[in-house]
Amino acid sequence: MIQEKFVLKKENLHAFLEALSKDMEVFVPCHNENGATTFLPYNGQEIYTAAQTFYSPKQALNKPSEKEFFFGKKSSSVEVERVKQNGGKMIFGIRPCDTHAVKAFDKLYLEYGEVDPFYREKRDSTLLAALVCTEPCSNGFCHSMGTQEPTGHDLLMVEKADSFYIEAASSKGEELIKKHRGLLNITKFQKPELNFECKKKLDTRNLKEILDKGFFSKVWEEEGKRDLNCTSCTQVCPSCYCFLTLDKFILNTENSERFREWDSCHLQRFTKVAGNHIFRKSRESRLRQFVMHKLSYFQKNNDMMLCIGCGRCISVCPVGIDLTEIAAKIRSEFE
């Protein structure tokens, strides 16, 4: 075990990220070409740590569209080839709440039922360098969800005025610190206690039972009326994982590829079956699916809430739909 505590001076941040990037693809919080904050592979860009990113870091693990298989047509057979995933990845500066979203993915893809080898390959080579929050974000409610401390991370970081406090949280994290020891300085600084309170709250006591009882509540109809089904919430959500599979030909009808792409329960076609039958036709039914999957359904198979309390869906919603308010209204009706 490493006994010393280290800080990464901000003047060394880029040197550190460059050194890491030699071994792995390092996703960092930054601005995208449209000015929105997100996580992108490090290429020398300015790092954004002032607040929560607009987009979640989930695209480091599950890209909006990713190739899973290549199918090569031969004269009397089809070659089925699993597309190899880029080995070695780090999500640098992932916030504690977002590490819980990764935990939800791990439970779903690696623990529940059959293991998904596609996710396993990506996850096995992904490191998490968590950056703890020292003040509340605009719409987060991590204290309500119990996600204010990071989980499953390899490094833990705390931002200070001129440096990042950094400590190993796993053996892989320890190896990294040893390897890049030259860029770090020894410190006497101790990890501070996190003593801020989120502005938003969500009462989670018996929430699943209460929401399940409120399946036919009028609240869904009222909120559903406003819902634009724009899917913004499912795009920015760190734990929304619903995907579809899609085959695409490569130029002709000989060779093709199979993609996994983000899907959204807010779209009508999400439940469309042969013969154009749609099981969730109304906006309210699709809003309910989103909220219930976050706060109730996921627990059945995976023993945790899918909502990790980052509040991004609230920040992004163009009509101000707020799942904490929906939950509170249903609680007042059915508790």
Partner: protein, 278 residues
């Protein structure tokens, strides 16, 4: 089943194609890798994720008997992109199989009972393995009844089987169509209209239902009127799965996964599921 069989589309060859009804064909399929074919076993009601390479992967119920696993049959209507690409395919062409998935009908539990099959349209395909398995072990079950309704008589699937089953001892087969045609001499109307024409004895019966959502809904209501309890009713639900393993969430119905918890549900489970979400 191995991880490979469940998570990778495995090459399978179309060995036989049979025209079943307009725009409906039964494809007999064998894994190219014989070891996979040998490893295959399934209960009636399970489904495969079928790859038509380049066109997509779709959930398709197995329509052949679980007692015969040296090949599998998939009965498929030409209705979407993948099925439309499949239909012109020929014997010898290669498709991909992933699975089988789902729970299936627990027919072992139904031994020594009267069995009632209720089927609508292409719902006969997922039900056929159960009928075949039960007819194949006829002495283990009591009285059998099949109710089968279709839009038109030419859309009835497995006509040879239907003829054969009507000759099986103590097997009452009743048919109806929505639209009578000049050649149709039988019943016209919804499948539940047939229930009164069979001498059903609910006390020792099990009903298995496969069909469109509206048919399942009314079949359950009518069976309950006759005296069936929720625990005696089983129905198979349809959703468009993309993974088959409870991950993609397309078949999530109020937290229940049709792919892993189903597709077969007991009446008690169905009563808790909002089948059509308003």
């Amino acid at each position: 089943m191995s991880e490979k069989m469940l998570t990778e589309p495995c090459q399978a060859k179309i060995v036989k194609i049979k025209d079943e009804a307009p725009e409906t064909k039964t494809f007999t399929i064998k894994y190219v890798d014989e070891a996979l074919q040998k490893a295959l076993h399934f209960t009636p009601g399970k489904f495969f994720m079928l790859s038509i390479f380049g066109y997509g992967e779709i959930p398709i119920s197995i329509s052949s008997s679980p007692l015969k696993t040296d090949s599998v049959e998939l009965t498929i209507v030409d209705v979407g992109n993948a099925t439309h690409a499949l239909h012109p395919m020929k014997e010898g062409d290669i498709v991909g199989l992933r699975g089988p998935f789902g729970n299936g009908f627990p027919i072992q539990k139904f031994r020594n009972k009267d069995i009632v099959f209720v089927s609508g349209g292409c719902g006969m395909a997922p039900l056929r393995p159960a009928v075949k398995a039960i007819v194949g072990k006829r002495s283990e079950y009591k009285k059998l009844t099949l109710f089968y309704g279709c839009k038109r008589s030419d859309q009835m699937l497995f006509k040879e089987d239907l003829k054969e089953w009507s000759g099986v001892e103590n097997f009452n087969t009743l048919f109806t169509v929505d639209e009578g045609t000049p050649d149709w001499k039988g019943e016209v109307g919804v499948v539940t209209k047939l229930f009164g024409k069979a001498d059903l004895k609910p006390e020792n019966s099990i009903a298995m239902i496969v069909g469109p959502p509206v048919m399942i809904h009314f079949a359950i209501i009518e069976l309950k009127k006759i005296g069936f309890k929720e625990g005696q009713i089983y129905a198979s639900l349809e959703r468009l799965m993309h993974c088959g393993m409870g991950k993609c969430a397309h078949c999530n119905v109020a937290g229940t996964y049709v792919c892993t918890d189903g597709p077969v549900f007991s009446g008690a489970e169905l009563a808790k599921l909002p089948l059509e979400e308003k």
